[in-house]
């Protein structure tokens, strides 16, 4: 095992590379701390990347959870400023169907206004003009400032900025032990997933931002954090049916939000309790698919004839409460646990609960705690400092040649002003890897060189390679080739290609009929039949 000799190389170690961990790393680094961020898989691989991508206005929680609702709307407005390149300002509608109780609408609007959410009752006819895909039989509609947010882009922007402020970032490194000395956590033992090498890192404070896995991380410190794993399943449709977020105006229930994002739209979610043994390999069941479709069609009837791209599921990091089999009634509020105060274990804290929407506030709370513990007197600036990608010059320069600029425009949408670093000098850099999502060789190379890409699934999260209609049918092989070249190791790239195809298939087979099955038969022919991959 490698020991780190400088006991004080880091001020704070953050476990977990989701939005919360990345945000905490950024905030701490911006306040001058020496930060180590450790993630066992890839950024946004857990709950961060497995939700609606909804820029909540907070309206959904207004009636049941005032505190979360108020936090949401504040963060919503902040993200519109600091993370422009991750956000689509689409607006949202809360619709009442004939089967719903219309009297709920006024309770809902009152609660929204109380939480500071600008909810406006509008005429159903106007709602139908705003969003032509909405169920035409609606009897009520309320407009709220919902939007869409790309969680991969958001997390990555935080990582990029944390690194720019000196943070060290380790992906595919798993924390296997917390090092304790006289009851205090003084560091972590980390295993490099690729080399299996173990290293100890030390810092006076370790913060767990591991989402549902925070339960296990706390156990390593001998502390009990009672998490409640609630699985949520979603379906992605092959194109953008709606441009405005559609919600049901009723108490939160299954499959009542339809969110547009980039080229697609998403319906979700279900909610069911799962065991900790399932959280690493979630599968969407046929019953969940049927339920999502049945309820989704009530929001936008055209979903019935829209191709489903894939199904996926995430686990909400809820902190357990008694007597709630679904987890729907647990607060989405932020939970910051100072284990020194709570459990008598100094040097260790947990930041959990909350939502993707409130990741920045969670990070602020965690960084505030770190400042107190380490005696640093510096206040948070993340509510005003734009993230990289949302700074000046984040829109594509208007180009000369329309065709050549096509891919560049998509790159600016994805990377903001950082897209100017993407090579586009020669024909090769401009060759297209992924037609569906307009990803060039230059963009793939940029991601491979700068964005901690270890495999094709990572590359997908950075660039959207393989996220489009064909689900990686042809781009998978092209991207694998570039990855092989970059890492100068094709054996790994080939293994990577097979696991990428399997990962895509995992999301496709629960919904594999119609076009999805056709497309898959083709993919199967190409990679298994023609290429002979195993």
């Amino acid at each position: 095992m490698k020991e780190q000799h400088h006991q004080s190389e880091f001020d704070v170690i953050i476990i977990g590379g989701g939005a919360t961990g990345a945000g905490t790393a950024r905030d701490c680094a911006m306040r001058g701390m020496r930060v180590l961020l450790v993630e066992r898989h890839d950024f946004a691989a857990g709950a961060t990347g497995r939700n609606h991508g909804l820029l909540h206005s907070g309206a959904r929680y207004a009636v049941t959870d005032h505190e979360s609702a108020a936090e949401c709307i504040k963060e919503n407005m902040i993200l519109r400023r600091i993370a422009r390149h991750c956000v689509e300002e689409n607006d949202g509608l809360f619709i009442t169907l004939p089967e719903d109780d219309l009297s709920y609408q006024s309770t809902f609007v009152d609660a929204c206004l109380k939480a500071g959410i600008n909810a406006e009752v509008i005429d159903p006819a106007l709602a139908k003009r705003m969003e032509p895909s909405v169920n035409p039989s609606i009897i009520g509609a309320v407009k709220v400032p919902d939007g869409s947010v790309d969680p991969f882009r958001l997390t990555l922007a935080n990582v990029i900025d944390a690194k720019a402020h000196g943070a060290k970032v380790l992906v595919y490194h798993q924390v296997v032990a917390l090092i304790k000395e006289q009851g205090r956590v003084i560091g972590v033992t980390v295993v490099d997933q690729k080399t299996k090498e173990k290293t100890n890192y030390y810092a006076p404070l370790t913060i767990s931002a591991g989402g549902i896995w925070g339960h296990g991380i706390a156990e390593m410190a001998g502390v009990k954090v009672d998490m409640y794993p609630a699985k949520g399943s979603l379906l992605i449709f092959g194109h953008r049916v709606n441009n405005v977020v559609l919600n049901r105006c009723r108490k939160p229930a299954n499959a009542d939000i339809l969110v547009p994002g980039d080229t697609i739209c998403l319906i979700g979610t279900t909610s069911s309790h799962v065991g900790f043994d399932e959280v690493d390999d979630l599968r969407v069941t046929p019953d969940e698919v049927d339920l999502l479709l049945r309820e989704g069609e009530k929001l936008a009837p055209s979903l019935a004839t829209t191709r489903i791209l894939r199904a996926y599921a995430g686990v909400r990091p809820l902190v357990a409460a008694d007597n709630d089999p679904t987890g729907r009634n647990i607060s989405r509020g932020i939970v910051l646990l100072d284990h020194e105060e709570r459990d008598g274990v100094p040097g260790f804290a947990t930041i959990t609960g909350g939502k993707l929407m409130t990741y920045r506030l969670m990070a602020e709370w965690a960084a505030d705690l770190a400042c107190r513990k380490l005696g640093i007197d510096k206040s948070c600036t993340t509510m005003t400092d734009p993230l990289p990608g949302s700074r000046e010059g984040n829109e594509a320069p208007t180009g000369k040649s329309f065709v050549m600029e096509g891919g560049r425009k998509s790159a600016y949408v994805r990377h903001g002003e950082l897209a100017s670093r993407i090579a586009a000098e020669n024909e090769y850099d401009n060759s297209l890897v992924c037609e569906c999502e307009d990803v060039s060789v230059g963009e793939v190379k940029y991601a491979l060189e700068n964005l901690d890409v270890n495999n094709m699934v990572d590359l997908r999260r950075r660039t959207r390679v393989g996220m489009g209609t064909c689900q990686g049918e042809l781009c998978a092989c092209r991207a694998a080739g570039l990855l092989g070249e970059a890492h100068n190791c094709t054996k790994k790239a080939e293994a990577d290609l097979t696991s990428f195809l399997n990962e895509r298939w995992k999301g496709v087979y629960p919904v594999a009929w119609g076009s999805a099955l056709r497309e898959n038969e083709y993919t199967k022919w190409v990679y298994d039949g023609v290429c002979g991959l195993k």
Binding site: P286, D290, S401, V403, M404, G407, E427, Y428, N430, S431, L432, V433, E435, S440, V441, L474, C477, R478, A480, G481, L482, G484, E485, T490, K491, A493, E494, T498, L501, N502, R504, W505, K506, Y509, A512, W513, G514, L517, R518, E521, Y522, K524, W525, V526, Y527, D528, G529, V530, C531, G532, L533, K534
Partner: protein, 409 residues
């Protein structure tokens, strides 16, 4: 419109059937939507590579008796070897030069540089009796700069694993810059169209020869000869050039499709490209007429009808969430009612859905509501009872069942 036979589907199966029938003096029409599995083939045709129980097949002729009883080959009886030879002859008559035999499978390269067994391989490529043909050889892999569907790095790695030493170089032809203006255009077929021009080809050849010095093998992507194999022959005569298959679309595959179609038309067949049969009139257990998209209410009548529409990809079969249908005739489809049985959680697993298809009697007559329709036959991958990918028998089933149907109408 009146024909002797209407063939629905213009892929390998439909064309084989059409050519055979035209040779017998029947007047046929092929209604083709335009897509064919040949477009994404690697240039090899599989007859039988593996049995359903996993046994590897060395000799299709000797081991065909091991297929499951639902397999279409069972219906060929003792004619399996005969029709395999007939299929090869038919291809040769169409000008498609193939190497291989049904007595023993050979190996050929995949676009990944690995090797797979097969029955027949188009003469653009070489066939081998072992999986390390370049062992101990110095290989140079030449690719066209910016062409991402020929993965030199993968191929080099696979060849080196099999004992060769490899170098990779890319070629930059200014004539291809026009394609690069729109990045989606850098695909095999478009490159082949540019290279097909004599002066571009000659220029390319001199570049290739410049690189070839000191190497035992010069490997190139198969982007030559979309319309004819003239350039392929010219190339292979020069230095020790080996063409390697690319990712789809397949230039040699498309050429084969065109050669078959030209022969069918030369024999007097009518090929309706870009048309789809939408519905059929069935009376007293017989198909009376079919209607196509382009011909509206002008129906096509014939003595016999052959369904060669392929499987899901070509819409020969259509899957709904709880049902699988054959859209033209509403034929009976053999499939499992429990959707959980359709799929394997592993993408590379068997995938049962591939065995689903229309139910037929012993003469490949299509069944509807449990009864055979008197004059409707099916052939190729629309049939049930086999797994073309797992068993490696897609092209064989397409050609052999089509020949059998043509001979037994």
């Amino acid at each position: 419109m009146k024909f002797d036979t209407v063939i629905i589907g213009g892929g390998l199966s439909g064309l084989t059937c059409g050519v055979r029938l035209q040779k017998q003096g029947k007047r046929c029409v092929i209604v083709s939507a335009g897509q064919s599995a040949l477009h994404f083939s690697s240039g090899s045709f599989d007859l039988l590579n593996r049995l359903a129980d996993g046994t590897e097949v060395v000799s299709p002729v000797e081991q065909v008796s091991g297929v499951d009883k639902a397999h279409p080959y069972v219906k060929l009886g003792d004619k399996f070897a005969f029709y395999a030879a007939e299929a090869q002859k038919l291809m040769a008559d169409c000008g498609v030069q193939l190497q291989g035999s049904a007595d023993k499978n050979h190996y050929h390269f995949t676009p990944m540089g690995t090797m797979k067994p097969s029955w027949l391989t188009i003469s653009d490529f070489d066939c081998y009796d072992n999986v390390a043909p370049f062992k101990g050889k110095k290989v140079i892999l030449l690719n066209i700069s910016g062409f991402l569907d020929f993965n030199t790095k993968f191929i080099a790695d696979a060849l080196e694993t099999a004992g060769a030493s490899c170098m990779i170089k890319s070629i930059n032809l200014p004539e291809l810059n026009k394609l690069r203006v729109s990045p989606t255009e850098m695909r095999s077929t478009n490159i082949a169209k540019v290279i097909d021009k004599e002066e571009v080809f000659n220029k390319l050849v001199s570049v290739i020869i410049g690189f070839s010095d000191g190497f035992d093998v010069v490997a190139l992507p198969a982007v030559f000869g979309l319309a004819s194999d003239r350039l392929v022959k010219a190339l292979k005569g020069m230095v020790n050039i080996k063409l390697m298959p690319t990712m789809p679309p397949s230039v040699p595959g498309i050429r084969v499709q065109q050669q078959l179609r030209r022969e069918f038309e030369r024999l007097g067949g009518c090929y309706m490209l870009g048309d789809t049969v939408e519905k059929a009139e069935i009376e007293n257990g017989k198909v009376k007429k079919v209607y196509t998209t382009n011909h509206g209410n002008i129906g096509i009548t014939a003595d016999a009808y052959v369904l060669t529409t392929g499987s899901f990809f070509s819409n020969g079969l259509v899957a709904h969430s709880h049902d699988i249908i054959e859209p033209v005739f509403g034929a009976d489809v053999d499939f499992s009612e429990d959707r959980a049985d359709w799929f394997d959680a592993n993408f590379f697993g068997k995938q049962n859905y591939l065995t689903f298809g229309v139910a037929t009697d012993e003469k490949f007559r299509v069944k509807k509501n449990g009864k055979s329709l008197e004059n409707l036959y099916a052939a190729g991958s629309v049939l049930s009872g086999f797994n073309p990918i797992y068993e490696g028998c897609g092209a064989g089933v397409a050609m052999l069942t089509s020949l059998f149907v043509a001979d037994n109408l």
